[in-house]
């Protein structure tokens, strides 16, 4: 296994899903069983990914492999396309392909009987292709291209049941909301390109490291970081652009699992990970605050939602906020760790909800569900494990990653004095445990809400159960570290993922990220000593606090919904305004409606009025003046201009008569013209 082979495998992995898409979309109409080809492709991709990941993580664990070629070369500017394979890349490849594979399997049963079955699988293929492109790219341009491709495939899949108005509306909303973030990302890319003449990450970073700043100012560097982060805000559904994600639940549930839980929304986080080294302290603070606030906002909304998928959607937004916050506070490794663990257990939760929805004949309101524990034991168990993981209960993967992030927030608070972030972080941990167990209890415990549908419910077939089992297995700590309490010494954080050293000038770094007191732990792991010590210092308090808060959350959930010790209705009545705020998603949709949408409408009305009275007025006035003017012009026209025109016409007529002779309509004549013209050209351009 050499580096070249690894690169070739990566390229094959990238383009196989495109092949699957092209074949399935083109032949799908003719060949009914075409989706098996797509399944075959994704299986092959997964196997290759496992091989590539295995060799990268064993043989080349400390090397970064990449390859690129020049796409367009202008005078001094070269635009290269290329791929870059480091440890994050292969782990992401594995996560994306594994979940994509499982979702393909799950969809076989879930989407059975759909009239656009083949097209559905083709869309999954193009989505996988674009996502792999984002993961593999080594430059911002390709990142942007695949970014938009992901947006497109997301749009296609959300609006897959486009006969439903809500589904096609949700698709449009997702697309347009993402576009707002993408404008920022595009501007950020342009700032960097204008200054460094390249899109390549590593080249840009080495230039920054040499002290070459965009427009010679740290402000522009901060601006570039924040603008690029706007792309992540859109794609990873951060406040204020998070509104599309809950609506995107109109898509088929496996799609929600693949795109809106595990992979596509993680693209934003992935972008931030790639950008991490060029973020200034101001940019990081913005990112941390946005992440923390989003996570809190979404958690409060999730408390009162009554649609099983919407609860999960808001919990996704909340967890993505965690990851973004984690990047903002410098806990790079834990952000990625949480991305991976979250991808598995959230995919499991979504597929579990899909299994429930399938069994209950597309009923996803919580009041219709309940008591499904006995009917669907496999779904229940896997759902339980994933819920424990997302709540951060020990022995699960979620505990490890969440605990790391929370310890990071505490350390951040202690080192910089921004205590708001840890407070929000821990509150969210409490809320998460509460609303996730609320969901679990209302779905699987208690009495059936809809007896008739309950009677028909049954455990799903193995193609649907197998992904659930596998994903819930991956939510257990043992896959990441041998130590169930701390991930620090496990292979995931110790060997595979290391925080890269930031390249921004010293003056724009946080105190704890300055290189003056950094300690060289191993070849490419540079982190401030101060930060390390604080992390160790706060590790145990953070862990105890998070487990305690998780436990309290779970306890309250049981008190409220299982044992009914506390009357929920009474409580909600006593805090009605807060309840309404949460239930109506902080009225954000309404606010956007009132401000941006009505604002745009009002603006267009104003412009319309302006058009009608002022522009039209000017036009009409001009018309009147023109009319008067034209009467004077008229006689000039009649006598002088017309005379000239008539003369020209007569001349043209004479010339035309002469030229008509040339147009005989016979091929032979034309041959003569062609050859004579050629001859003239030859004589004119004859070399002397």
């Amino acid at each position: 296994m050499t580096e070249t082979i690894l690169i070739n495998i990566a390229l094959v992995i990238l383009f196989l899903p495109l092949l699957g898409f092209a074949a399935t979309i083109n032949l799908g109409a003719k060949i009914k069983k075409m989706y098996y080809f797509e399944i075959f492709i994704i299986t092959a991709t997964l196997i290759l990914t496992i091989i590539a990941a295995f060799f990268k993580l064993s043989d080349f664990v400390n090397t970064q492999i990449g390859s690129s070629f020049t796409w367009i070369a202008f005078d001094t500017v070269k635009i290269d396309l290329g791929i870059k394979i480091d440890n994050i890349t292969v782990i992401m490849l594995f996560v994306v392909n594994l979940i994509s594979f499982l979702v393909h399997l799950f969809s076989l049963e879930y989407m059975k009987g759909d009239k656009r079955f083949n097209r559905y699988f083709a869309y999954l293929g193009i989505f996988t292709f674009s996502m792999l492109g984002i993961v593999l790219t080594d430059n911002l341009l390709m990142m942007y291209i695949f970014w938009e491709l992901v947006g497109l495939s997301s749009y296609l899949l959300i609006g897959f049941w486009f006969e439903k108005k809500s589904a096609s509306d949700a698709g449009k909303k997702a697309f347009l909301t993402n576009r707002i973030g993408d404008i920022g990302m595009f501007l950020g890319i342009l700032i960097l390109f204008a200054n460094y003449n390249t899109f390549n990450f590593d080249v840009i970073y080495s230039q920054i490291n040499l002290g070459i700043l965009p427009f010679d100012s740290t402000v522009w560097l901060t601006a570039a970081g924040i603008l690029l982060f706007m792309g992540a805000v859109g794609k990873s559904a951060q406040f204020p652009l998070h509104v599309w994600l809950p609506d995107a639940m109109e898509g088929p549930t496996p799609v929600s699992a693949l795109i809106h839980a595990a992979t596509m929304v993680a693209a934003g986080v992935y972008l931030c990970l790639r950008l991490f080294v060029m973020l200034t302290s101001d940019a990081m603070l913005v990112i941390a605050v946005v992440g923390a606030f989003t996570s809190f906002l979404a958690a409060t909304i999730a408390l009162t939602q009554t649609d099983i998928k919407r609860v999960l959607a808001y919990s996704t937004v909340s967890q993505l906020g965690y990851m973004i916050m984690s990047i903002g506070i410098g806990a790079y490794a834990f952000a990625f760790f949480h991305l991976v663990t979250h991808a598995f257990f959230k995919a499991c939760l979504f597929l579990g909800s899909g299994s429930v929805i399938h069994a209950m004949h597309h009923s996803q309101e919580l009041e219709d569900l309940g008591g499904l524990r006995k009917k669907m034991p496999v779904t229940y168990l896997t759902f339980l494990i994933s819920t424990l993981a997302i709540s951060g209960i020990p022995l699960t993967s979620g505990f490890l990653s969440k605990d790391g992030i929370l310890a990071g927030t505490l350390a951040f608070g202690e080192l910089t004095g921004h205590w708001l972030i840890p407070i929000l972080g821990f509150t969210v941990a409490l809320l998460t445990a509460f609303y996730m167990f609320r969901l679990l209890i209302l779905t699987f415990h208690g009495k059936p809400g809809n007896q008739e549908k309950y009677n028909h419910a049954h455990e799903s077939k193995w193609v649907m159960a197998f992904p659930l089992v596998l994903l819930s297995m991956l939510s257990i700590f043992i896959f990441y570290t041998p130590n169930p309490i701390s991930a620090e010494s496990g292979w995931f954080l110790d060997k595979w993922i290391s925080t890269p050293e930031t390249v921004v000038p010293e003056s724009t770094r946080f105190e704890f990220m300055k290189s003056s007191d950094s300690e060289l732990v191993d070849a490419n792991f540079v982190h401030s000593k101060l930060y390390e010590e604080t992390m160790h210092h706060v590790h145990y308090p953070a862990m105890i606090l998070s487990v305690l808060l998780g436990g309290i959350g779970i306890l309250f959930a049981f008190l409220f919904y299982q044992w009914k010790k506390i009357n929920v209705d009474k409580l909600t009545n006593s805090i009605r305004p807060l309840y309404n705020l949460s239930k109506n998603k902080w009225y954000l949709d309404e606010i956007y409606n009132a401000t941006f949408i009505n604002g745009t409408l009002a603006l267009s009305k104003i412009i319309s009025w302006f058009d009608q009275y002022i522009v039209d007025g000017i036009v009409n006035g001009t018309a009147k003046i023109t009319k008067i003017y034209s009467t004077y012009i008229k006689w000039i026209d009649t006598y002088i201009v017309d005379g000239l025109v008539n003369l020209t016409a007569i001349l043209s007529g004479i010339i035309g008569l002469a030229l008509r002779k040339l147009q005989t309509g016979k091929v032979q004549t034309y041959i003569v013209y062609v050859i004579l013209s050629l001859l003239i050209l030859l004589i004119v351009f004859k070399p002397v």
Partner: protein, 165 residues
């Protein structure tokens, strides 16, 4: 004026005179026979240029194949009463003017252009060299031509077939 030059003028004369007759006589059968002489003359010119193999191919393919084919065409497309098969011309006067200009231009070009002119010693027999080069450097074109001929064969048969089966 050596023997080479004399032979050249002989063949060039045959070629040009019979070429002119091909396009000027009315009787198609006669025209075809004058074409025969033209092709012979050209083959002679090839020999003078040291292209012995091409000259033989010229005689075999053109005289033996294409010319016979053309004669067949003449015979099959005219209601034959005797050998006097007339072919009319049209737009003769403008054509003569145009062609005159063209001919003048071409000759002017050929004479005045400063061609690269270094006479090569072409080996006595070119067959072996040609065979080698066709099967090495030009193998792809050679194979493609083979396929083209096959297609032409089938195509000609299909187009000229009397009834659709």
């Amino acid at each position: 004026m050596n023997i080479y030059d004399i032979i050249f003028y002989l063949f060039a004369g045959i070629t040009i005179i019979s070429g002119f007759l091909v396009v000027s006589v009315k009787n198609i059968v006669h025209a075809a026979f004058y074409l025969l002489f033209t092709l012979f003359g050209i083959a002679g010119l090839y020999v003078l240029l040291g292209a012995d193999f091409i000259a033989i191919v010229q005689i075999m393919v053109y005289v033996g194949g294409i010319l016979i084919l053309i004669l067949f065409g003449v015979m099959l497309t005219n209601k034959i009463v005797d050998v006097e098969i007339k072919s009319e011309s049209f737009q003769v006067i403008p054509a003569i003017i145009f062609i005159g200009i063209l001919m003048g231009g071409l000759v002017f070009l050929m004479v005045t252009t400063n061609w690269e002119n270094n006479e090569l010693i072409i080996p006595l027999t070119t067959t072996k060299i040609l065979g080698n080069i066709i099967l090495t450097d030009y193998i792809l074109i050679f194979e493609l031509l083979g396929i083209l001929l096959l297609i032409a064969l089938i195509g000609a048969a299909t187009i000229a077939r009397k009834d659709k089966v």
